[in-house]
């Protein structure tokens, strides 16, 4: 086989790859055009900033979910986990404020606890899935219920509010900007880049895909399957805790309704982005676009009163289906071939 054939092969593949990658991007651009057509204020700087900041929560969580799903798992507990972490964080900060004052120390203690809790909760999901050998769906359905009811219990059914004295210190984490972009957006960007590198440029990412693709092959290839799978849940937990850290200063409160349905949104973002639900193929870039698409849909619906409020869900459902259908293109074939 000649070298020129090689080169030809490479060139031929590229456009196919592009279509696949471009799918979610095209869907997002279409949505933006629709938004602008409905109301030019859609493109205002303020709105774009709001949109990006909002995407940060789901986006950061979805980056974690990309790892879990790529390695063949699923995590339904993220929304509840965010709620309980936010709750405990607030309780802790309110308690230490007397000792450490309302300064940065208290906030850092809160953030530290958030990270520890996220890692712990993620590890628990991973441990039960791998060592307990229980289907991830069941484990995380269980912990979803547990975390949700714990936050309700801590808040006594109501709302946990951050001490007003701390809010001033913590507020900038959500509301301030840095080089024109709000801090949550920066966090999102950093998480996305780190996630992309981790998935595409490190052995860990390779192992995630291998496990999702075929666990037995992974085992025969000297991969510690249980350890890698547990790590994906731990990463998911870490992402949830980061999302929580930028969520809490927004309203300074957590309740049993915090983070409801975030798990479905996160998974939807991942799938819209082109990651395969059954594992083996993951795309962080797609996930980011997926999160942006979901947020944009909600934003657009708030920008028009053309349709009855009650039908928001219908529009949302239709747009999601059409967005995925748009990018299906080559996908249908690719997926069929996989099975």
């Amino acid at each position: 086989m000649s070298d020129s054939a090689h080169d030809r092969g490479v060139q031929m593949k590229l456009p196919r790859f592009d279509i696949k990658t471009m799918g979610p991007a095209i869907a997002l651009i279409l949505l933006c055009i629709i938004g602008y057509a409905l109301n030019p204020a859609f493109a205002s700087e303020g709105n774009i900033t709001n949109l990006l900041t909002r995407s940060a929560f789901i986006g950061i969580i979805a980056v974690g979910a990309t790892f879990v799903i790529t390695s063949g798992g699923i995590d339904l507990s993220v929304g509840s986990m965010a709620a309980v972490i936010a709750g405990v964080m607030i309780i802790i900060m309110n308690n230490v404020v007397d000792t450490f004052g309302a300064g940065v120390t208290t906030v850092l203690i809160g953030c530290g606890c958030s990270v520890i809790l996220g890692l712990g909760a993620g590890w628990a999901n991973g441990f039960l899935t791998t060592k307990g050998k229980i289907e991830a769906f069941i484990v995380t359905l269980g912990t979803m219920g547990i975390y949700r009811s714990l936050v309700t219990y801590f808040a006594d059914g109501g709302t946990l509010s951050l001490d007003f004295s701390i809010r001033g210190t913590y507020r900038p984490v959500y509301y301030d900007s840095f080089f024109g972009l709000p801090i949550p957006v920066w966090v999102f960007i950093v998480v996305a880049i780190v996630g992309w590198i981790l998935l595409n440029r490190t052995a860990f990412g390779r192992y995630c895909m291998a496990i999702g693709s075929n666990e037995a092959v992974a085992r025969y290839s000297a991969i510690n399957v249980d350890r890698i799978k547990t790590w994906t849940y731990v990463i998911q937990g870490l992402c949830v805790s980061l999302a929580t850290i930028i969520y809490v200063p927004r309203l300074g409160s957590a309740s049993s309704s915090t983070g409801v349905l975030w798990e479905l949104e996160a998974i939807a973002a991942v799938i819209i982005g082109g990651t395969v639900l059954k594992g083996g193929y993951g795309r962080i870039g797609g996930t980011i676009l997926g999160a942006l698409i979901l947020t944009t849909i909600g934003n657009i619906l708030n920008f028009t009163d053309l349709i009855s409020n009650y039908l928001n869900g219908t529009m949302q459902g239709l747009i999601i289906i059409v967005a995925v259908w748009l990018q299906r293109g080559d996908w249908g074939r690719a997926r069929r071939a996989k099975t």
């Binding site: 006594d156 309203l251 409020n309």
Partner: protein
């Protein structure tokens, strides 16, 4: 074992108002059981109408209750299940949401949803003039929300105040924040916000402050009587000048009345409608319960 068993069934608190109601109910249960050793109060909450129907079945078949205090999730779906409890001979107290068939309950204790909407609109009219713009953030699409909203719009009619748009913020702070952000991007001129609920109002205020549009006499009206809101009214905040009460203690009130049916001399029956009081800096103190989660 000849205790009088009173079952109390209500929706699982998923937002702060309901948690306040739960708090008042739990306190009432403790107080009443301490007061009357032969009274046994069983509190059960349910996450959805059909779970509540199941819970009612369980209260009859397992606990064999003598009286039921029920705050139905929704009127329609729980009419039949409550009727079944009634057939077992129990005394029925219905709270807040009336059943869709009259005459089942012995006692009815309720807040007033249309009144809440009406009072809010009436206040708007006192502060705004013809041509002023408001936006409305609604609750979860349910009958409660519809009743409040319809009464609000009816009261506003003919005043010349424009309702720019109304969206559902689901009695949720986060949704309130996001919907308000979008309203602010969309409408350059908003003079007031009806948030219908204090939770939504907190999100709305955060969005206003973020956008720096909380000055110029702009104000937000929530509802229900959250302790933080009442506190800030007491402190003379102008952004949320008043609140409209939807008493979270109504379930506790109903429990008191139900126990009174067994413990007082005369039978207790009839309808107790609690008003939608406007909370102002003058009367705020009496609605302030710092220990309640709401």
């Amino acid at each position: 074992e000849d205790k009088i068993k009173i079952g109390v069934s209500y929706p699982t608190p998923t937002h702060a108002w309901a948690a306040g109601m739960n708090w008042h109910a739990e306190n009432a249960a403790k107080r009443l059981e301490a007061l009357y050793p032969d009274i046994d109060i069983i509190l059960v909450n349910s996450p959805d109408p059909s779970a509540q129907a199941s819970a009612l079945e369980d209260l009859v078949s397992v606990n064999q209750i003598d009286a039921l205090v029920v705050l139905p999730f929704e009127s329609e779906p729980l009419t039949d299940p409550v009727l079944n409890v009634k057939k077992s001979g129990a005394f029925i107290t219905v709270v807040d949401r009336g059943l869709s068939q009259p005459g089942i309950e012995d006692l009815y204790v309720a807040g007033n949803n249309p009144e809440l909407g009406r009072v809010s609109a009436a206040y708007m009219k006192t502060r705004l003039k013809d041509g002023d713009n408001i936006v409305v953030l609604r609750g979860i699409p349910t009958v409660i929300d519809t009743e409040r909203f319809d009464a609000f719009m009816a009261e506003l009619e003919g005043s010349g105040i424009n309702v720019l748009d109304h969206k559902h913020a689901n009695w949720n702070r986060d949704d309130g924040f996001e919907v308000m952000q979008d309203f602010l991007s969309r409408f350059p001129d908003i003079d007031a916000v009806w948030a219908q609920d204090d939770d939504i109002a907190i999100g709305v205020v955060a969005a206003l402050k973020q956008a720096g549009r909380d000055g110029d006499g702009m104000f937000v009206i929530g509802g229900a009587g959250m302790k933080e809101t009442i506190k800030s009214i007491m402190d003379g905040d102008t952004l949320i000048p008043i609140d409209v009460l939807y008493p979270p203690a109504m379930l506790a009130t109903a429990m008191d009345l139900t126990v009174a049916n067994f413990k007082s001399n005369g039978p207790v029956a009839g309808r107790y409608i609690l008003g939608a009081t406007v909370i102002t800096p003058e009367n705020a103190e009496q609605f302030y319960f710092p220990d309640s989660p709401f």
